[in-house]
Assembly symmetry: C2
Homo-oligomer: 208 residues x 2
């Protein structure tokens, strides 16, 4: 799809105009280039310039669409990107949906997961890791708030932010133990058992 | 102390015998050399040969005392090493003691902490990270079991092992967020508030 869009913009006659007038095509081309670049070089070592080169767009166009490298990353890879859809629904069963989606996602592709990229990025560039984790947490906190306190009546938002950060920390640690260091007992735990443990813990962290 | 022991073994007359007959002095010299080497080069890049060189002992003597690099590491740095003392006491308040000791230890010296070394080591050497995490979890599980089920009557040991691994994962994630990426809200949370959150979560993970 992204390739198609890029080819379309190279048709003779009106390439510069197509470029300007096809924001969706550019967005798709940027996301596609970002997925490949991050996948090959890892989060910390990929630059917006790399991605611009691959997508055949300017650096400026990327920041106009995505504002920063960490936001582009989160838009490009599964994970935070899909949180709105996963979170939508009955607040009481939010922990179950989050736990289930997390385990499914990691079982499918842990290597390409933003949490794994986050942990790996810390080794080469702590600043990059900090920016990435901040962007993830900001987004997560907004999504959790929209489900748990849609009318803004949650007792204290600070407290909800802290709880969401603790949920994030738990997931970082589980991703590390099961999918990076791959150490037992978590590494060999059946996915449904891990999901049950996480749902129970998330329920406690968020509601207790 | 370690230096004194090393000097003692070089006194003229009986150096080879002193070496063999001063296991406590050697142990201390090895631990001292290990602390410095791990602190300077990080866990993954330090070899037992480096440490042997610094301590003035053979590689074989180190493995006789500590059996492996990860066990030496855990014996040398604060953290797992002190778990027996922290854990001893009323099982009902174990979560509070663990949470309090974890936060105190990290606030004092996060850079030298085994959990931070663990996360950092994964970037350069996943095998090293896996071995280190396994050794930490094995030790933790044994200590938790000795407090929570001293007569071996805990319903299912597998389940306790899984719970201890989840406690470890939570701590890895919190160490990452607060002390490596240093991202808010966890980074700026007052220590006593973090301790309270962790104690509550540990109680749930271990007992619920």
């Amino acid at each position: 799809m992204a390739e198609g869009a890029a080819k379309g913009s190279e048709e003779p006659g009106s390439p510069p105009r197509r470029r300007r007038r096809d924001p969706e095509g550019h967005r798709a081309a940027i996301l596609d280039a970002a997925r490949h670049a991050f996948g090959e070089r890892g989060y910390a070592r990929t630059t917006l310039r790399d991605i611009a080169g691959r997508a055949g767009v300017t650096h400026g166009l990327i920041t106009r669409h995505f504002s920063s490298k960490e936001r582009l990353f989160l838009a490009a890879v599964p994970g935070n990107r899909d949180l709105e859809q996963v979170a939508a629904g009955d607040p009481a069963t939010l922990p179950d949906r989050i736990a289930d989606a997390f385990v499914r996602r990691m079982e499918t592709d842990a290597v390409g997961d933003p949490l794994v990229a986050l942990v790996r990025s810390a080794a080469s560039d702590e600043r990059a890791a900090a920016d990435l984790l901040s962007a993830m947490q900001e987004h997560s906190a907004a999504v959790y708030r929209s489900v748990l306190s849609p009318d803004g009546t949650a007792a204290r938002d600070d407290d909800l932010d802290a709880r969401v950060a603790l949920v994030g920390s738990l997931m970082i640690g589980v991703a590390f133990s099961r999918y990076i260091a791959r150490t037992d007992p978590l590494a060999s735990m059946p996915p449904e058992q891990l999901t049950a443990h996480l749902a129970r813990m998330l329920r406690h962290i968020l509601f207790d």
